[in-house]
Symmetry: C2
Subunit: 416 residues, 2 copies
């Protein structure tokens, strides 16, 4: 280490020590909406009150049993949001994670349309674009589904790799996709990627794309990303059963009390409903009415998201500002600049991420575990870190990101 | 047929024809609460409003993610209701059916504590006391679990039969129980039955009692049935992992928007939570707060049930009144006289139930399908019919039960 580096190292160690003395307590580990964002939907709680009608226009008592796949009005809202028809939608409870988990569980126990046998009786592998969403990977690991990582690019997964894998290996039954403002890179799938996903030939007759459209309307600019309809593309290519799509209002209304939905071909939906009838009489209809009254329709949801963007944009900008100021031109890290979603993906120098996260935590800044964005929690290059700017205030973010950048530079210097 | 019978038959045929002309439309197929019962909880919808605190006393933002096993306050309410500790409870979503289904699905995919292998990799059988609840049987059939019927008595299942089965067959992994005001017979398990269930030795090391306490506080008299604590009994006999108990507020607050809970040994609960963390971030906390504010505590729930009883009791009484008047002393049917729950169980003469249900339906009175109370929908004696008096008004019930009794007598005479 040259004298200049040594001097810089001492300076960083001093700065880090100062931060530590501040006893910070900032949790940026998950993509949680902030209280201000949740406040945007508080008015939803005022309807229905005890004075309002308990029976819908179509004659359904919203308090009683029934409605396996959701109120017709709620199905319509999700169908419009997802650009599908109402018979291609099932409304769920408060969690799209549950819909995803249960979709895999059903496939393991019963198979899906086109399966020769339940997945649980076969070797099953899933393609996992990386970096990706840790909860997708946890589900696979939990169920013993082998994960095959492929690189995530700015346009979506490395399709040459995906196409070659699915063409040759019949145990590959699926791929996880977060097509818009992907977790954590913020990538938006290109129309070419969508077309290739729809068109590709798979050795498995029952291959499925788990299309987690978690950030479907979660844009940060006034130019929302759009892309071709994967359902139409799949149908045009004779693969209409290929898509299981998921969406929820968790980051639109309330994170713990929103409404999730699943979309798929009518044939898939009909098959799923037969299983679902064993599991539930139906999801909470009062909460559906609450959402319908507040948002009115899909357009109302889109408009509401502008208010979220107004709160989130300054937070993302703050992160970029500190990164630029602290790390710009130093060749120590690269970061994504998403137009939507909930995350910023940082790549440090190789073999630095774990140590950065550890140091930041010691200084009171809890980040998502290094490695979490890869299958089995193992980032082969130990360089990817997911930044979740939504929950802290702009002031807290400023501090947290300064701590983070100090850790990045400190670890990079020490590793040299 | 003697002249007297022939004359009576003609009379009944005339009465039946008259009913048919009335174009009745009465659906008594499911145990649904009536609108008046649902009205009892409407005030619950007024809290929280947008003006109320969104953070609990323990510092939880009820709108955000988190709380895998429920708010501590909600766990306490269910723990008190079920006479267990809070670390023996998981709060779920709006459906105990989902908790039951998912419990079996988890056992199939992963096994339970004490399993040598996932249940899905073995032959699995369940004991099903009959007549019983059709949705329990549907879950078994759906998952390929072989059902072994044993007789339901006034005190619970025929324990001699149960004990002998579980002692000899290691593929018998479970038994369904509705211990209080059983569906459909209204039986309450005796303390002796509870003790024998807790004590019996099972060949399967991972045997489970699925204790569906659906009618735990659903009494029709001012002398609620009580019985010994099955958890304590199991623990005293060294079988603390044996119980998976289920309960919900579906027939306490709102049938479609209530709250369900699962209770089991702490060790079972800890094991289940590991799986649950893959499936959800947590159930709807706003709805938990709604329930907590309305009921306050378990005692509040019990008191609320008196209001349900006040509405339900006259309906049950009306059924008994018409039965006594129309069928009394004729030796054509016997019926249960439950002190709680949602059903009256009728046994016609052998080989009559299907035809009675068919005739009633033709006259506009839809009953639960004959056979539904038995595994695979097959009542070997074709005699059991479940009457669900909760939803219709007393006037509608009077009419519906007269139609029913006419059908019973008509079919009995024709079969003679």
């Amino acid at each position: 280490m040259d004298a200049q580096s040594e001097s810089r190292l001492k300076q960083l160690q001093h700065t880090y020590a100062t931060y530590k003395q501040e006893n910070l307590k900032l949790d940026m580990s998950r993509g949680k909406p902030s209280p201000e964002q949740l406040d945007l939907s508080n008015a939803m709680l005022d309807y229905p009150s005890s004075k309002d009608a308990m029976v819908t226009e179509s004659g359904v008592d919203i308090r009683n049993y029934g409605g396996l796949d959701g109120l017709p009005e709620m199905k319509k809202l999700f169908a419009d949001l997802l650009s599908v028809t109402t018979d291609e939608v099932i409304v769920g409870g408060n969690s799209s994670l549950t819909l995803m988990h249960d979709t895999i569980a059903r496939a393991l126990l019963h198979g899906v349309r086109g399966s020769n046998a339940p997945w649980g009786q076969q070797k099953v592998k899933f393609i996992c674009p990386t970096p990706g969403y840790d909860r997708h990977f946890s589900i696979c690991e939990h169920f013993g589904i082998e994960m095959i990582p492929v690189d995530m690019t700015d346009d979506g997964p490395d399709m040459a790799a995906v196409e070659s894998l699915v063409a040759e290996d019949e145990t590959i039954k699926g791929i996880w996709c977060v097509p818009k403002y992907s977790n954590p890179t913020g990538s938006v799938f290109s129309d070419e990627v969508i077309e290739r996903l729809a068109k590709m030939e798979t050795k498995a007759p029952d291959f499925r794309i788990l299309w987690d459209n978690a950030y479907i309307v979660h844009y940060l600019t006034d130019r929302p990303a759009t892309f071709n309809n994967i359902f139409t593309a799949c149908e045009a290519n004779g693969h209409s059963d290929r898509i299981f799509a998921f969406v929820s209002t968790s980051k639109i209304s309330f994170a713990g009390a929103g409404i999730a939905a699943l979309a798929a071909s009518k044939e898939n939906i009909d098959a799923i409903k037969k299983h679902l009838a064993m599991q539930t009489i139906g999801p909470d209809k009062i909460n559906q009415v609450r959402h319908l009254h507040f948002f009115k329709d899909a357009e109302g949801v889109v408009q509401h998201m502008q208010k979220h963007a107004d709160i989130l944009k300054p937070k993302f900008d703050k992160v970029f500002e500190v990164f630029e100021e602290q790390l710009g031109g130093k060749d120590l890290a690269t970061w994504s600049a998403p137009d939507g979603g909930y995350f910023i993906s940082v790549d440090t120098l190789n073999d630095c991420a774990k140590e950065v996260v550890r140091l930041a935590k010691e200084a009171g800044v809890v980040l998502t575990n290094a490695g979490a964005t890869f299958p089995y929690g193992k980032d082969p290059l130990d360089r990817n870190i997911r930044i979740a700017p939504s929950f802290p205030t702009v002031e807290e973010l400023d501090k947290a990101m300064r701590v983070f950048c100090t850790c990045v530079e400190l670890v990079s210097l020490q590793k040299q």
